[in-house]
Amino acid sequence: MLNTVEKIIFILLAITAAGFTFHGFKTIIDSIRKGRPAPELKDVPGSLVKAAIAVLFQQTIFKARKVLSAIHMGLFFGLITYAIVNLVDVLEGLIPGFDLVYGGVHLPNAPTGLINAFNLIADVMSGALLIAITVFLVRRFIVKDKALTFRDNVLLNPKVKAGGQARDSLTVGVFVIMHVGARLMSQAFRLDAGADPFMPIASFLNSIFGASETGVHVAWWISLGWVMFIIPYLSRSKHTHFFMSPVNLGLAKQNPRGQLDPAIPLKVIEGQKFDPGAKVVYDLAWTRVMDAYACVQCNRCQDVCPANFQGRPLSPSALEVNKRYLLKEATFGSHPEKLLLPLTETVISPEAVWSCTTCYACVRVCPVGNEPMADIVDIRRRMLIDGYEIDSGVQNALQSLATNGNWMSKGKRLRGKWAKEMEFPVKNATEEPVEHLWFVGDTASFDERVIPNTKMVARLFNQGGLDFGIMYQNESNSGNDVRRVGEEGLFEQLVEQNMEAFGKAQFKQIVTTDPHSFNTLKNEYPQFGGKFEVKHYTVTLLKLIEEGKLTVKNKLSNYKVTFHDPCYLGRYNGGFTAPRKLLELLGVEFVEMPRNCENSFCCGAGGGQIWMGKVAPGERPAENRIKEALTAFGEGAKDKAQLFIVTCPKDMIMYSDAVKTTGNEGKIEVRDIIQLVAEAVMVVA
């Protein structure tokens, strides 16, 4: 189709484009390789295939924003189709007589069915692409969806602030419209025999513009000439996403969600010494440097972030966006010195670093397998080592944890005080063998507001004939939140103390009250040699009831309840069913909140937030959650008491406060699930 001069021009263009594209991806790969060693990935080909399948079916985006995700799907399939269409178009331009796409008219021997199918798909997907891209452009530029913006207090790269992202989106949006529009026109121009039923859109355009040999050439050049510019551009824009997201998803975290990467890479590299955590961008694991290139800046993570909700200066997506702009300025641009700037100046503000509750919602919702939360923990780790001034409340907690083994500045010997007050002896697991070692945790052991529930757990275990014991003063804080605050050394010290205590004890499995302890004992202690079976008390209670050791004598049909999934039990460890099953057995009327299970909303206490001396302004996540529960309950059924059920001692405190501060006392009451179980099996306090 093309004449010789055109062919030469095109081939030269293609070679130049290939050169720039190669340079683009080489720059990206080189920069990713400068990251630190990441935890070992197993069966990489297998995970890449799995990721490819997930991408093909667009599974991961549907975790949020269902309608927009469906439109993204149109865009995705449109672009996949266009990759093939472009290839065929190029071949047609270069090889005389290769006009496969021309309704089969000029190729009498070609399988007509195949050509018709190809043309139909290409035509329909052109329409889909145009619709999808228009929706996205309208959303960003006309409707100005707030979800695509950042709060004023969030640290942003100056180029992002100046509208870099929007320009990038517009460039690619306009490209898609021009490219697809031109391709449709080229098809329309060549329908000299009139409408083709397998090209409805092109046929419609043909009915307006008619056929034109020159038109075909011009349209071909607009359609494919553009591609030669846009492909190299992609590697330098956020749309690197097209290529890097599937790879990033394939190389995403394989370890359990509840297991943080070590502060210093486990892999030893000759001649290289690593400081704990991350100060500059290449202190991050290479897989997390890659996150920046995979991120298309959709802000799904920001939508689910409890700190962002409260108006605090944290946006997980801004972190990735800033990382990308930093890397771009340093690698594609002329500012390599920026790589040496602290992440707290370039990527995330210190206030934002200390706003994170480590609830994992951002990582869970990310369609491309990014882990902004892990970056935040790494940054905290280094800040602590470098002597950054930390919140006084956190410092007091850490100091108490270092000296007393608990964050409440209580003496070690007081840990088992509640047990000594019981009407039956509670075994000391470090002195006599027990089947279940109950790891009680700090809040449940020391907090006067929670101790009545702790005693209730003990009574139910006792009534159910469970052979259990606690470790009294030998138990130390599990260290889950200490690790997430970034105090890796103290975490290790606490692990050692507990491992020493476990060493003195004889037991078959561990039961925890606190989901936070549950998480680290289950997912992180194994790395320190602590391989035990760990259960949350909801599972143990359910088993006691199912085995008939505890009997529900009193159905609680007078209660209307909803259940809050604690982050570290639910999202982190999938403990969704036991609490719900328990509630079902108790006979309560159960109402699910809109944000439940994987999508549960953090109470705001995790990741050390409960220790903070300074209280951030704004509606607290727990307050919002109480309102969500009341909305879910709706009107009516006022004859029933409305209960907000928790299975985490920290939740008991957070939500009881939130009920008061939102002025909802009398409308809703916070109860630990244990209180309901006790009432149903008629264990008296």
Partner: protein, 251 residues
């Protein structure tokens, strides 16, 4: 500049305080660093960071567990640690001040820091007594220290929110109430690293205190009386208070 910090290891009040005989049952209580000493260590390190020099931390090892405290001080920026092997958990502030000053004598200190008081005896005497034994001036209740040349400028706090600024010639002893910045946090990894590598100098206790405290009886306080919350508008509350004072014969 030779900066010396005298510290005190005291029974922790995080636990219920057990009593044995006429004193605390030292066997069933944990010992911790006096919290005012945390402030004075911080102030000493701040001075060192401003004008250079070395910080030496010295304390009496009452129960053989002072090392952990000294390691923490080293992790926070002290350069040398010295422990006096007193080995008597009942040693009072008079005795400790004597031992400390004997140990400090050989250190040619330019400035000595001590916590203004400790929560076990609350007498606020150690700093003042060290100053007396070393024949140096003493200023207590201090909330910031700046050193320039041979002079220290200190802020001293008085009751009622009144403060005073003093200039004093070195050497001197300072009783620290609060450092000019909150005490820094020492990451445990650093503390543990230091615990493995640091050497702590041991000094035998010398000298007898000329005076001291004699315990006659030690008992937990008995809860007595109760608080009554007066409710109502400010006028009503005021009226009730007046009435109450009258009824007790106080007005």
């Amino acid at each position: 500049m030779n900066i010396v910090v005298a510290i005190k290891h005291i029974p922790s009040i995080a636990d219920d305080l057990p009593v044995k005989g006429v004193n605390v049952d030292f066997d069933s209580v944990d010992f911790v660093l006096n919290e005012f000493d945390e402030q004075s260590i911080e102030q000493a390190v701040l001075v060192k960071e401003a004008v250079g020099g070395t910080v030496t931390v010295v304390g009496v090892d009452l129960i053989g567990e002072l090392d952990a405290v000294l390691h923490l001080a080293l992790a926070k920026g002290a350069d040398k640690a010295v422990k006096i092997t007193g080995d008597d958990p009942a040693a009072d502030s008079h005795q400790q001040a004597k031992w400390l000053s004997e140990a400090i004598k050989g250190m040619s200190a330019d400035i000595v820091f001590a916590g203004v008081q400790a929560s076990n005896d609350l007498d606020g005497q150690i700093g003042a007594m060290i100053a007396a034994y070393l024949d140096m001036p003493y200023i207590g209740g201090v909330s910031s220290v700046e050193v320039s040349g041979n002079t220290a400028t200190v802020n001293k706090e008085f009751a009622g929110g009144v403060g005073a600024k003093y200039e004093a010639a070195l050497p001197m002893v300072v009783g620290v109430q609060a450092a000019s910045k909150p005490p820094r946090y020492a990451p445990i990894s650093k503390v543990r690293q230091i615990a493995q590598s640091a050497t702590i100098e041991k000094v035998a206790p010398t000298g007898e205190a000329s005076a001291g405290i004699t315990f006659k009886k030690m008992a937990p306080p008995v809860a007595a009386g109760h608080a009554e919350m007066i409710e109502g508008s400010s006028k009503e509350v005021a009226a009730k208070i007046v009435e109450l004072l009258k009824s007790k014969g106080l007005a």
